[in-house]
C-alpha cells in the first residue's frame, strides 16, 4: 500500500570504550512508510538517539544498511550525501544547546539555505524566513532576537523551522518535547502533527515518554540495550504488549486517572544493565520475571506473531 521510505538492515553501531565494546545499536531492522511516524521508545542508554543519528549518518555505522527509497545511503560519497541531507533533517532535544547562541533567529533559520545555496537573492531568503516562521508559529517580531532571549517552546519552534528550511521528506525528532513544560509540549506536538498532515513528512520520533509516543506514532519500536525487542502498530502495542519489557514499561507509566488506582502493578526489579559487552541472548534476561534458560545463548530474532507485530522473546516462538 504505502511505500517504504526508510529501512535499516542489521544496522550496528559499536563504540570502543576502555572497558570493552559498547553495543549502542545492535542488529536493528526497522522500516518507516512514507508519511507515517515510527515512535522509538526506550530508557536512557538504550541506543535510541544513536539509532537516529546513525540513520542520518551523523554517526557512521559499524555495519549494516540504511535504505532511503531503496538506496543504501551508507555507501554514498560526500557529494551524494550532501544532496541527500536536504531530504533528511533532525530536530534536537535540547533547544538551548542546538541553537548557535551568536546567531539571530533569522540567521539560524537561513543557515541551511546559505550552506546548500538553495536560494540566492536576499529577497527570496527573507521571504522564506517569514514563511517558515509563520508555519511554525513564531511571531515576526522575533526575527532578529537571539535564542537566549526566548523561552524553550519558541526555541524549539526555531529548531523546527531550521529543519524545515530545506524542504525535507524525513525528519528524525530526537526527544523534541522532553525539555518542555506540559502545556508547551502539547503545542509543539500539535505543530508537528499538523505539519505532517500538510506536508506529508515522515517522522522517526525518539522519546522515553510513552504517552507522547502513543499519541503521535503509527508504529512503535521498543528498544532495550541496543536491540529492538518489539515493533507493532501503536494501538496494538498498547492493547497487546507481548515482550515482558514492553509490559513492564507500560505498567510503569503513571497515568493521570484514578480509575486505575489500586490496580496491582507489575514492577520490574533491578536497573538497566550496561550495554558494554552485553550477554549473549536476551539482554532483558537479568530483570525479566519470566526468564528461562532458553533466553540465553543465541540471539533471539524478531518474529512476526500477529500481522505487523514483531517480538523478540522466546515465549512467543
Amino acid at each position: 500500500m504505502s511505500k517504504t521510505l526508510i529501512q535499516t538492515n542489521n544496522l550496528k553501531k559499536y563504540f570502543q570504550t576502555p572497558i570493552g565494546m559498547l553495543h549502542a545499536v545492535d542488529d536493528v531492522n526497522i522500516s518507516i512508510n512514507k508519511g507515517e511516524t515510527l515512535g522509538v521508545v526506550g530508557e536512557s542508554g538504550c541506543g535510541k538517539s544513536t539509532l537516529g543519528r546513525t540513520i542520518l549518518r551523523l554517526i557512521e555505522a559499524t555495519s549494516g544498511e540504511v535504505l532511503y527509497n531503496g538506496e543504501n545511503i551508507l555507501k554514498y560519497d560526500k557529494n551524494r550525501l550532501f544532496e541527500i541531507r536536504k531530504r533528511m533533517q533532525i530536530i534536537f532535544q535540547d533547544p538551548y544547546a542546538s541553537l548557535n547562541p551568536r546567531m539571530t533567529v533569522s540567521e539560524i533559520i537561513t543557515d541551511p539555505i546559505r550552506v546548500n545555496k538553495t536560494l540566492s537573492d536576499k529577497k527570496s531568503i527573507s521571504d522564506k524566513v517569514s514563511e517558515l516562521m509563520e508555519i511554525v508559529g513564531l511571531a515576526e517580531r522575533f526575527v532578529n532576537t537571539y535564542p537566549h532571549e526566548l523561552d524553550g517552546g519558541r526555541r524549539q519552534r526555531i529548531g523546527i523551522a531550521r529543519a524545515l528550511a530545506l524542504g525535507p521528506e524525513f525528519i528524525v525528532c530526537d526527544e523534541p518535547v522532553s525539555a518542555l513544560d506540559v502545556s508547551i509540549q502539547a503545542q509543539i506536538l500539535n505543530l508537528l502533527m499538523d505539519l505532517q498532515e500538510k506536508e506529508g513528512f515522515t517522522y522517526m520520533f525518539i522519546t522515553h515518554d510513552l504517552s507522547v509516543v502513543k499519541h503521535i506514532s503509527d508504529q512503535i519500536a521498543v528498544m532495550y540495550l541496543g536491540q529492538c525487542v518489539e515493533i507493532a502498530k501503536a494501538d496494538e502495542l498498547f492493547m497487546n504488549p507481548l515482550h515482558p519489557y514492553t509490559q513492564a514499561l507500560l505498567d510503569a507509566i503513571p497515568v493521570p486517572n484514578l480509575s486505575l488506582l489500586g490496580k496491582e502493578k507489575k514492577l520490574i526489579e533491578g536497573e538497566v544493565t550496561s550495554p558494554i559487552n552485553p550477554i549473549q541472548g536476551c539482554r532483558f534476561y537479568a530483570r525479566c520475571p519470566l526468564s528461562k534458560k532458553e533466553c540465553l545463548g543465541s540471539l533471539i530474532p524478531l518474529k512476526e506473531v500477529a500481522p505487523s507485530h514483531y517480538v523478540s522473546c522466546v515465549l512467543c516462538i
Binding site: R53, L56, L58, L81, F82, R85, K86, Q89, I90, F92, D94, A97, S98, L99, N100, P101, R102, M103, T104, D111, P112, V115, N116, S126, S130, E140, R141, F142, V143, N144, T145, Y146, H148, E149, G159, R162, A165, L166
Partner: protein, 295 residues
C-alpha cells in the same frame, strides 16, 4: 502596501547589536569600567604623545638640572641626566603598551590557528601539536623570552618576536580547549546535519563562539606581556636606552632609587596602573561576553 508593511516590521524589529548588549552588561561592573577608563587614558596618552611633548625633550640631556624633584616646570622631576621624566613616561607608554598589544595580537593570531587545527581535528595532529606545546610550556614564559632575546640579541623588534613566541602556547591551549568544548555542542551537530563543511563550521559556528573567552584571555595576557616586557627591559634585554620604555626607565634609575625615590615609583606606578586596568577589563569582559547571561 504589503512591502511597505513588511519593511516597517523589519525596521521595528531591527537587530539589536550584540556589541551593545555586551556593553550594557559590561557597564554594570563598576571596577571594569574604571579599568576601561584608566586604559583609555593610558592609550590616549600613548597615541597623542607627540602632541603633548616633543620627542626631543625625552632624550635632551641637561646636566644643570639633574635630580629636580617633581614640580611646576617638570611635573615628574628630572633624572640623573637631567631629562624630563614626564616626557619619558608619556613616550614610554607608547613603547610599553604597543609592544604588549602587538605581542598579544601576533601570538593570538598564530595560536588561534594552531589551536583550531588541534582542537577540531583531534587525533594524531592534536597529539603532535600538543606535545610540542607541552615542551614549550615546560619552560617558564619569562625565561623563554630571555632565552630568545639572548639568542637574537636585544632590540625592540626582537623583543616583540620573543614575547610573541612565548605567548603562543598559552593561546593555542586556550583556543584548543574552547574548540573542544564547542565541538561537542549540539548546534555543531545540527550544522553538520544540513551539510555544513568543516571550514564553514569552524568559521561560522566555532570562531564566533570562541571569541568571547579568547578576548578575555587576550586582555589578561596583555597585562602579563606588559609586565614581562618591562622586566626584560629592566634586566637590559629589552628596549635599549635611551628609548623610554617603562622598564628601561626603571632600570636606568635603579641606582638612584635610594635618594630620589620618585624616579622609580613613577614608572613603577605607570606599569602597575596599566596592568591593573587590563586585568580589570579582562574580568569585566569575562562576565559581559557570555551570551547566555541575560541583561
Amino acid at each position: 502596501m504589503i512591502i511597505e508593511k513588511s519593511n516597517q516590521i523589519k525596521k521595528k524589529y531591527k537587530k539589536r547589536s550584540q556589541i551593545y548588549s555586551i556593553w550594557l552588561r559590561f557597564k554594570r561592573n563598576k571596577m571594569a569600567v574604571a579599568g576601561l577608563i584608566l586604559l583609555s587614558i593610558l592609550l590616549t596618552v600613548a597615541i597623542c604623545a607627540p602632541l603633548i611633548v616633543k620627542y626631543e625633550h625625552v632624550i635632551k640631556q641637561n646636566l644643570k638640572i639633574r635630580f629636580l624633584p617633581p614640580g611646576r616646570d617638570y611635573w615628574f622631576g628630572t633624572d640623573a641626566l637631567g631629562r624630563d621624566m614626564f616626557a619619558r613616561i608619556i613616550w614610554g607608554a607608547r613603547y610599553s603598551l604597543s609592544l604588549g598589544i602587538g605581542a598579544v595580537f601576533i601570538s593570538m593570531s598564530i595560536g588561534a590557528v594552531i589551536g583550531s587545527v588541534a582542537g577540531y581535528y583531534g587525533g594524531r595532529i592534536d597529539s603532535l601539536i600538543m606535545r610540542i606545546i607541552d615542551v614549550i610550556m615546560a619552560i617558564p614564559g619569562t625565561l623563554m623570552a630571555i632565552t630568545i632575546v639572548a639568542a637574537l640579541g636585544a632590540g625592540t623588534v626582537k623583543l616583540l618576536i620573543a614575547m610573541s613566541i612565548s605567548l603562543i602556547p598559552t593561546f593555542s591551549r586556550v583556543v584548543r580547549s574552547i574548540i573542544l568544548s564547542i565541538r561537542e555542542e549540539e548546534y555543531i551537530e545540527a550544522a553538520r546535519s544540513y551539510g555544513c563543511k568543516d571550514r564553514t563550521i569552524i568559521m561560522r559556528h566555532i570562531w564566533p563562539n570562541s571569541l568571547g573567552p579568547l578576548i578575555v584571555q587576550a586582555s589578561l595576557s596583555m597585562a602579563q606581556a606588559v609586565l614581562t616586557i618591562s622586566s626584560l627591559s629592566f634586566i637590559g634585554l629589552g628596549v635599549p636606552a635611551p628609548t623610554p620604555e617603562w622598564g628601561t626607565i626603571l632600570s636606568e634609575n635603579k641606582v638612584n632609587m635610594r635618594d630620589y625615590s620618585y624616579l622609580c615609583t613613577i614608572p613603577g606606578f605607570a606599569i602597575l596602573l596599566s596592568v591593573i586596568a587590563m586585568n580589570l577589563i579582562g574580568d569585566g569582559l569575562r562576565d559581559a561576553l557570555d551570551p547566555k547571561l541575560k541583561n
